[in-house]
Amino acid sequence: MQKLLLLGDEAIAQGAIDAGLSGVYAYPGTPSTEITEYIQDSRIAKERNIHRQWSSNEKTAMESALGMAYAGKRAMTCMKHVGLNVAADAFINAAITGVNGGFVVVAADDPSMHSSQNEQDSRVYGKFAMIPILEPVNQQEAYDMAYAAFEMSEKFNVPVMIRITTRLAHSRAGVVRKPLLEERELSLPKDPTQFVLLPAIARRNYKKLIETRPDLEKLSMESPYNSYADGSDRSMGIIACGIAHNYLMENFQERECNYPVLKLSQYPMPRKDIERMVSECDSILILEDGYPVIEELLKGYQEAGTPVKGRLDGTLPRDGELTPNIVANALGFPFEEGAPVPDLVVGRPPAMCKGCGHIDAYKALNIALEDYGPGRVFADIGCYTLGALPPYNAVNSCVDMGASITMAKGAADAGLTPAVAVIGDSTFTHSGMTGLLDVVSEGTPITIIVSDNYTTGMTGGQDSQALGHLEQIIAGIGVDPDHIRVFKPTAANLDEMVSIIKEEFDYPGVSVIIPRRQCIQTLRNKSLVLKVKELGL
């Protein structure tokens, strides 16, 4: 069969399609975005009318996917690691309901924080939910796992997590496909109470989940993705999780590996393999591209037992992505670097595009704030976060999606007025709306700037759920329409913008200001341009 050249993300998407997927539900987020985009562009997905529209946030995505699994079809939800925080309530409880159709959760982690606020490890969540986790080592395995995960989910009545990291998500290699399966028929769960998590039922379901533990461990022992390669040098055994196995093997291209190696790509951990390594080896090195999850488990709190090396004892750095060189250091293998980076090489920090509407909005905001002093702008996550950098230096916080409005509220409650929130249109519908309701309920005097560019710019210009009804939503939540102020952020409008912002600072209630201009990176997106025209924006 012909090999397709696919990103890790795309391999997961193709694997899911071929496994008879009926719906993907997701909110964009690097490095997970390309999974859903691949399905949106897929011919088979179009022919089968697989659900593939973006959701408002990760929680709505997770719940919609669970609903599809309830109805007997195969569903997948994809998100970046921090998205799983947003969806965590649904996620943990989906392990208690179990599934009907197969249910797969893809979490894309970002060690080294290439484009994220933290490097949390989703395997912790998978363990917390007590469900199987698959961690592919390469693109083919990513495909194979996505293909197999739905059946696993159905057979063991649990959601299955696929955990990848940026490097695999955004790296391309050849993938061989398997036969395309039919979608599953619509069907109700056999037990009509299965998804009703009243305490009595939840207790019953939870016991069942606990009872699957031994079966899941057995499954990991027999998994084609886990393997124990014995070696003659038992002074050290190595456990290499997911993509870390590649970095390990890179160091054994020209030398033979005599250490026993456990390639670990399916959890819960294969207990017997671990016990074997502990009993046969003098020490254990653990390579994980993420938190020291397995290392902490094996190390425990007692000094007795087989010494464990990894991120916790300094054999590997405590944080950041693994690389072949970091692993070489851990193995004590010398390597010759190239020349150092010359001093004259300077950084190119990311910046907002020239001509971006956010820039004009910040210019106006900075002038309007001159009379009040610094430290009052609570921003959010999106292109506009780059307003934190020079020359604007316009932003004092960026924490998690939606936090701008609520943090401005808390600061205003503490007496900081005016307090300003800056949030994008997509982030507003992701998780700004509920915070706005808190503000409206109490009439907290803050000024909220929803910088509307009709799109989800930061992640590459996906649809924004706010398009066409932003003011209605804001008025519907209860903001006085007289204090919903829309204008076009351009250099020519600077004075007008400044005076509008100042007027709203003076208003002792909730104001929402909407600078509105299309993201210039989307000007060639014909369907968006058409939609904007139709809406008369």
């Binding site: 290699a173 970095y247 670097e337 300077v346």
Partner: protein, 197 residues
């Protein structure tokens, strides 16, 4: 064969088309390939890199280890220097000489060029000038691929076939123009190599 290539540039300069062309050729030749891209902030003028590994044997790591790259192929001069720690002692640095200045503190061009000239194995060509002569300015990335091609163990015909596959959806003229760019880039390197012998 084995070619480990670090592709370098600034967002929007088309290094992913270079990767795609080599990738296409490698798949056609049944070679193994891994290509790690850096997405994310690329749209916004940040530096971008891609690790491209082609080999007749299976490839372990998606990332090239430091000190192991056979080629740094850069479409921007300062960016070519950012990845020097990856270049092996015998490796080639192949770079475009036209700077992409989107920062206030871009270093003096003479200093950048002097650093490039210090590298034992280097090729520096004005890809934009060549692209304008034989194709269009937009093909300067493919000129750079041509300039690096003598050091990549893949035949020109396979690279040309790769270009054809990638650009055939656009038009025959686009295909031809890119093939011209590829050949002109290679010729430029050959002239430099001949003059050094």
């Amino acid at each position: 064969m084995k070619s480990d290539i670090v592709l370098a540039g600034v967002g929007g300069q088309g290094i992913l088309s270079i990767a795609a062309t080599i990738g296409m050729a490698a798949v056609d030749k049944n070679l193994h390939l891994k290509q790690a891209e850096v997405h994310g902030m690329s749209q916004r003028g940040g530096d971008v890199q891609s690790h491209l590994r082609v080999s007749s044997k299976p490839i372990a790591s998606d990332l090239i280890p430091r000190g192991k790259a056979d080629i740094i192929l850069s479409v921007e001069p300062m960016e070519s220097l950012r990845y020097l720690p990856y270049l092996s002692k015998k490796g080639w640095l192949v770079t475009n000489t036209t700077p992409f200045v989107n920062i206030p503190n871009y270093p003096e061009m003479e200093e950048v060029m002097a650093k490039i000239a210090e590298q034992t194995n280097h090729i520096a060509i004005d890809a934009e000038k060549i692209a304008v002569e034989v194709a269009t300015k937009r093909s300067s990335n493919i000129v750079m691929l041509g300039a690096a091609s003598p050091f990549i163990d893949i035949e020109m015909s396979a690279l040309e076939e790769g270009l054809r596959k990638i650009f055939e959806r656009k038009s025959d003229a686009v295909v031809e123009s890119n093939i011209n760019a590829l050949r002109a880039g290679r010729a430029a390197t050959e002239v430099i190599l001949a003059s050094r012998n």
